[in-house]
């Protein structure tokens, strides 16, 4: 079962590296973005390690149960509720980003809100499914989509148009101390482990998640790819002109013998599916945590009635997302998302710290 952990971890990493983060890193490319790629995975790796190891001590329990057992209600409620809301916001943010991209490149005449409403409805339907259903569908879509994305990445890497001199020029700026925003952006790539707060219930407790070192390694590689391939294609300064760096980069790919010549359209569709999966996971986690904070436990068998509280929470957040999407324009969206990542990192650390403490305390008792 532990393979599912890697699925949602890498989905989260992909979404961050190709959808949310590139803008932040490109802005900070002379100001320490590269160093943040080294520090980010280190911090992220430690957090992932600490969180998985502490949670594995609680057999088949999620964060709400653990908090309810070990903490007074005054403490457990804000902890679990906060974690849930954070998960929701991460998903909502991804949707707004994605809706903007899709409405710009794929359905240019359609308003982003119409798309956002469609996305949100479907995500709500996905999020209220049982944890196992969420994991099964994640696996299928992962197996279908991620290889294609990896092929795209590799194609970019070995393309004739990729100018490695530009990349090498960027290495001059390796030892610049990263800013908070680029550091938090790099660390947030690893935020997928938060989903474990709910999925720990479905994982068999006797098995530890193996090969954890893969997470920071893959994350590092992805971050480096997502940063350097656009620079190799658009030049050190030219890359700054593009808003959605990766979309423009893939638009420059030429695959002569592919069935569909414009690779970017396929890329956008894959991006859309992966975002569906990502938001389904985050909103599922969010819904479970928020309802769990109010001591509503997941039923053995899902039916419309038992899932009603979760659906209510999801619909509420969904409406919030659509309204936020209508309010944001691109610049405020990017500002909001980097601001959000900036405050999210310490909160993540806080939650991980709390859970680590809880697991230690339990051992002593």
């Amino acid at each position: 079962m532990s393979r599912y952990f890697f699925y949602f971890m890498s989905i989260s990493m992909l979404i961050h590296t190709i959808l949310i983060v590139p803008r932040d890193h490109m802005n900070a490319r002379y100001d320490g973005a590269i160093l943040s790629f080294l520090i980010g995975p280190a911090i992220g790796g430690v957090l992932v390690y600490a969180y998985t190891r502490s949670l594995s001590k609680f057999k088949g329990k999620g964060l709400p149960e653990i908090a309810a057992e070990r903490l007074p209600k005054a403490l457990s409620l804000p902890l679990v509720l906060g974690a849930g809301l954070m998960s929701f916001i991460a998903g909502g943010m991804a949707w707004i980003h994605c809706a903007f991209i899709i409405s710009k490149y794929l359905n240019p005449d359609m308003s982003p809100y119409a798309l956002l409403i469609l996305f949100v409805i479907v995500t709500c339907a996905g999020a209220v499914q049982t944890s196992k259903t969420v994991l099964f569908s994640t696996e299928i879509i992962y197996i279908v989509c991620v290889p294609l994305l990896v092929v795209l990445l590799i194609h970019g890497l070995f393309s004739k148009s990729m100018n490695y001199d530009s990349v090498k020029v960027m290495l001059d700026y390796t030892w610049v101390m990263p800013s908070w925003s680029s550091l938090s952006a790099a660390t947030n790539t690893f935020a997928g482990y938060m989903a474990l707060s709910v999925f720990n219930r479905t994982f068999p407790a006797d098995k530890q998640i193996k090969h954890l070192w893969l997470i920071p390694a893959v994350g590092l590689i992805l971050e480096l790819f997502s940063f350097f391939i656009p620079i190799g294609f658009h030049g050190t300064d030219g890359v700054d002109d593009y808003i959605y760096t990766w979309v423009s980069t893939v638009d420059a790919f030429r695959m002569k013998y592919l069935l569909i010549e414009r690779v970017v359209s396929i890329y956008l569709l894959i991006l859309l599916v992966v975002t569906y999966v990502f938001t389904m996971i985050t909103w599922h986690v969010g819904a479970e945590l928020v309802t769990g904070a109010f001591r509503i436990r997941p039923p053995k068998k899902a039916s419309l009635r038992t899932q009603l509280p979760r659906l209510a929470v999801c619909v509420l957040i969904g409406i919030g997302t659509v309204i936020a999407g209508a309010r944001f324009d691109e610049t405020t969206l990017f500002k909001a998302s980097s601001f959000w990542m900036g405050i999210r990192m310490p909160l993540d650390v806080l939650i991980v710290f709390a859970v680590v403490l809880l697991s230690r305390w339990r051992l002593k008792a």
Binding site: I102, L106, N107, M110, L115, L118, F119, V122, A125, G126, Q129, T130, K132, T133, F136, S137, E139, I140, I141, I143, I260, E261, R262, S265, L269, L272, V273, Y276, M280, A302
Partner: protein
């Protein structure tokens, strides 16, 4: 000598035209023989009951001799007696008891040719319509002492007999428990088809089938060996295999019989076929009406050119052609076999060509409609092929409103829906579920 009170013994059956009632007298004592001529084997009656009657000296002796005949039972008068009569028993009414002797006609039903899932080299016969024959077929093919057969009836009026078969050493007891629970909840009056049982056992409003209905004994036996539960319904040449997951519906039996290197590509072909038949019409609408950049320049010009004669929007074209192909498929199933082929020729060859000539559909659309139909036929199990046929329409509607985004959304929903299904506790769409490979 008082006549037997048939009214009391077999209430309600007195007026059946095929009821034979005869008094038999031994000395001064008499018994009454009652049977339904349509169900009973007269030869057998002669050689068993009449023979015994002829040999016996008095009523008690006759009763003793009857009790030696195989299939002898004593029943209470009333409903129990009626039930026995209806099952092809002959009743001998004594003043103090009713003896029932099984004398049903031997079934005339023979195994049929396997037509639903033809394979080239493998067992060629399917089940028969008779439950006893079918159980016998399975027993012969799976002579394991662990094979358990349980009988039950289904349908409050039809009282169709149902056999539940499973390998006791391999079966998952949870599945059996759930099956019992669901069987007891069925309150349909008349049950006559396996697909109907499968539908009654699962949710009525499912799109995808969660029980596999097949007419192939070899598939049934394979499933049996994989620990699945088999249901056989009297009067249908099909077995219901539970639980069944999505991938089972796209497997042909030939996959098991051939080398993997030969069959894996064909399996892939089936999955691609299922994808094509589901998405192609929707993709056409999306490409033509929202995102022509997906086409290469030459193809875009050609499609634009061939659509130039069509005055309607792309989705009318799609719905028209799909209606025609679906109607053709339906017609060729419903029509008698000899007319069926004529219908397909008329429809497929003439209508398609003419529709394009008349400028109602583009020439590309003809290709799409036919490839959708052909791809649909590569799905081996009929129920799944129906499900996929239906699933393409919501996709077209999504494509109409949202283009490619709608299609991707629709596919995501389909995957999510399939993953949310459980077939008797087993996840319906789960990769790497690890099936036993020994049976291969």
């Amino acid at each position: 000598m008082k006549p037997f009170d048939l009214h009391a013994a077999i209430p309600g059956l007195m007026h059946s035209g095929d009821l034979v009632s005869r008094g038999l007298n031994i000395d001064e004592e008499s018994v009454q023989l009652v049977y339904l001529s349509s169900l009973c084997d007269k030869q057998y009656l002669q050689s068993s009951i009449m023979q015994a009657f002829g040999d016996s000296s008095d009523r008690a002796d006759f009763k003793n001799r009857l009790s030696l005949i195989p299939g002898y039972e004593q029943v209470q008068s009333g409903d129990a007696a009626v039930q026995k009569l209806l099952r092809g028993y002959a009743l001998v009414l004594f003043p103090d008891a009713i003896c029932a002797i099984e004398s049903a006609k031997a079934s005339t039903s023979k195994p049929l040719d396997a037509t639903m899932e033809s394979i080239l080299q493998g067992p060629q016969y399917a089940f028969s319509e008779d439950i006893a024959t079918n159980v016998q077929i399975i027993r012969t093919r799976y002579p394991s002492k662990e094979l358990r057969v349980e009988y039950s009836v289904i349908g409050t009026v039809s009282q169709t007999s149902l056999a539940i078969l499973y390998d006791a050493s391999k079966v998952d007891p949870d599945v059996l428990l759930e099956l019992d629970e669901r069987l007891s909840k069925i309150d349909a009056e008349v049950v006559q088809a396996s697909n109907q049982v499968q539908m009654l056992l699962t949710d009525r409003y499912h799109l995808l089938p969660t029980g596999l209905v097949t007419d192939r004994p070899d598939r049934t036996v394979l499933n049996l060996s994989q620990g699945k539960v088999i249901l056989l319904l009297n009067g249908t040449p099909f077995s219901i295999n539970l639980p069944a997951v999505f991938f089972d519906f796209l497997d042909s039996m030939e996959d098991v019989y051939q080398y993997p290197w030969l069959m894996r590509p064909l399996q892939a072909l089936r999955y691609i076929g299922a994808c094509i038949t589901m998405t192609l019409p929707a993709l056409y609408v999306a490409f033509v009406s929202y995102n022509p950049e997906f086409f290469r320049a030459q193809l875009a010009i050609e499609i634009a050119g061939s659509r130039a004669a069509v005055p309607y929007a792309s989705y009318y074209e799609v719905f028209l052609m799909l209606f025609l192909t679906e109607a053709l498929t339906e017609a060729s199933i419903r029509l008698p076999k000899h007319i069926g082929s004529t219908a397909t020729t008329v429809g497929g060859l003439i209508l398609g060509e003419a529709a394009q000539q008349a400028g109602l559909v583009s020439s590309i659309m003809i290709i799409i409609a036919s490839s959708v139909a052909i791809s649909n036929f590569v799905i081996p199990i009929n129920t799944m092929s129906y499900a996929v046929r239906v699933a393409k329409f919501p996709l077209i509607i999504l494509a109409m409103y949202f283009g490619l985004v709608g299609i991707v959304t629709g596919i995501f929903c389909f995957v999510l829906y399939a993953a949310s299904l459980r077939s008797f506790g087993k996840p319906y769409l789960k990769l790497f579920s690890g099936e036993a490979k020994r049976s291969r």
